[in-house]
């Protein structure tokens, strides 16, 4: 199924020419990567981060600064990639080390506050970031063509999906899911729960940084909004509405939210109420958390699963915790 859709998306730009659609799809691919990185934390390990924008923003600013300060060449692109890798890995490691041994509230709180700190940093460190207004930059030659860039983002999304699929199916990933189900039992089985959680935190952070790079390059512009709460909320909405712990859900969620965003922005030109479109998503999100904690994908799976073999409903609800 996944490959079918990927193949379809692969040939799409060659058969149907629409610049707007292509740009929108590129955004969806990028946010799919971002949402999947979030899903690894929330869905597969049961960690709630409220500062995922921080990693996204680090990626976006790294590439922006390298492209602006130096020549937009492949070498500098790679350097930005390495810088993002090192920074996101280091920060997610430290945050994980500090809070993952405590209750889940702490990780959420610390990431929330830290990303607030990065937002302030981006605003105040004007010599490097040009403050609130941000800056435009040029990108290396190979990335300029929109179709090429579209294909690149599609490839990254597919790669990230395969990587995470592998990762979550690996012994390490199984331990992560065991932690989500029952942390104490996993601990008592002799697993160093903290190490595994930190590993998940680092992989997720790095991947989110990569998404940030792609995002900034697609806009050729970066400003403080990449650190804003909205970015984190996007990831949350996409993962929750799509369905946690499935990876597919993250991608479907990304598609839905981006499409809806695009569509509602159009509508807002006619009806002012749609300017506050986030309210609808907020309400849907609350309802999903309350009544369909497994999201679209999880709920569909449950339904089809139940048809084949009746399963106590209670168990499915428990999994969501």
């Amino acid at each position: 199924m996944f490959w079918l859709v990927t193949a379809f998306l692969l040939v799409l730009p060659f058969v149907y020419e629409s610049r707007n659609l292509m740009i929108l799809l590129t955004q969806i691919f990028i946010f799919s990567v971002f949402a999947m990185s979030y899903d690894l934390l929330l869905g597969f390990t049961g960690i709630v981060s409220f500062g995922h924008a921080m990693f996204f923003g680090i990626g976006a600013y790294s590439i922006g600064i390298f492209m602006k300060r130096f020549e937009p060449t492949m070498v500098h692109f790679l350097l930005a990639l390495v810088a993002t890798l090192v920074l996101t890995a280091a920060i997610s490691f430290i945050v994980g080390l500090l809070t993952l041994r405590l209750k889940s509230h702490f990780y959420a709180m610390l990431t929330l506050s830290l990303s607030g700190l990065f937002l302030v940093l981006a605003e105040k460190w004007r010599s490097l970031t040009y403050g609130n207004d941000g800056f435009t930059f040029r990108i290396p030659e190979p990335f300029i063509d929109r179709t090429h860039y579209y294909l690149l983002c599609l490839a990254v999304m597919a790669a990230a999906f395969m990587l995470l699929k592998r990762f979550t199916n690996s012994p390490l990933g199984r331990v992560l899911q065991a932690i989500r189900e029952n942390e104490q039992r996993t601990e008592s089985l002799g697993f160093q729960v903290l190490h595994y959680k930190i590993a998940a935190s680092v992989v997720s952070g790095v991947l989110a940084g990569m998404a940030g790079i792609l995002y900034a390059m697609s806009l050729r512009f970066v400003n403080t909004s990449v650190f804003s709460m909205d970015i984190t909320l996007d990831a949350l909405l996409m993962t929750i509405i799509g369905g946690v712990g499935t990876l597919y859900g993250a991608m479907i969620g990304a598609g839905l939210i981006e499409f809806a965003h695009d569509w509602l922005t159009e509508l807002a030109k006619e009806h002012a109420i749609f300017e506050r479109w986030i309210i609808f998503f907020g309400i849907i999100y609350i309802l999903v958390v309350m009544f369909f904690p497994k999201g679209i994908v999880g709920t569909l799976r449950n339904v089809s699963f139940r048809r084949k073999k009746p399963e106590p409903a209670k168990k499915a609800e428990k999994l969501a915790g």
């Binding site: 500090l98 607030g116 309210i279 915790g321």
Partner: protein
Amino acid sequence: MDLFFNLTLNGLATGMLIFLLAAGLTLIFGLMDVLNFAHGGLFAWGAYSGLWVYSQTGSFLIGIAGAILTGFLLGIITEKWIIKPVYGNHVQQILITLGLMLVLSEMLKVVWGPNQLTANPPDYLVGAWEVGDVIIIKYRVFIIFVGLLIFGGVQYLLKKTKIGLVVRAGVMNKEMVQALGINIQKVFMFVFMIGSGMAALGGVLLGPYSGVIHAGMGMEFAILAFIVVVIGGMGNFKGSILAAILVGLSGSFMAYYVPDLSLAVNMLLMAVVLLVRPQGLFGAKG
């Protein structure tokens, strides 16, 4: 001397506002194990609704009452419809309260528009007293006064009344409280209401202090409140006022001497506390 005094006063006033927000957070957390990420939204709603009532009636005090009432109402609604259905599931709670935060802040923009509003203190709180060469801004003193009053009031409630006793018992052992014939749900609702009312009060007091209010201020202050809750110890009411004053003062002095680092210092403080004393600087309870 003048500068030092003013920075201190400023820090204390800010600390009191953060305290009003953090106190509810920490009480609710201590009793219900719920970290309410929508708490900042209640703060912002207090600011807007209070300012609105103030502008309609012309009385600042009625405005404050209006804000507190709004806080009570929103608190009851939140507890009943948002928190209760997912009670006991931490991840779901965290997620759902954040969703509520989102809706609350956006709703503010729907009702009062997306632009920031200006707020001024009432005439009798405008200006300053001059004592020797020290200038004391009245409104700041007013905030400190209200903050201490609320602290004293809640402290009295906790220590001297039956409901306060039940709340303290509930923090230690929820099950046993119920086994003694007490409806803990009602106690939850009560604490949530008080906490929300305090947050809303903090919000309405902030308006004339900073001069403007905007929908994003809920989140800004919520972050400070989280830092305070961690430093003071989650569930520790007395710790929350001490930590709030600490954060307020450090913010005020840092903002004067090295403005860019003020938030960073508080963050650093929180990181250190998380690392060495996750139960908080004050008291032993975790």
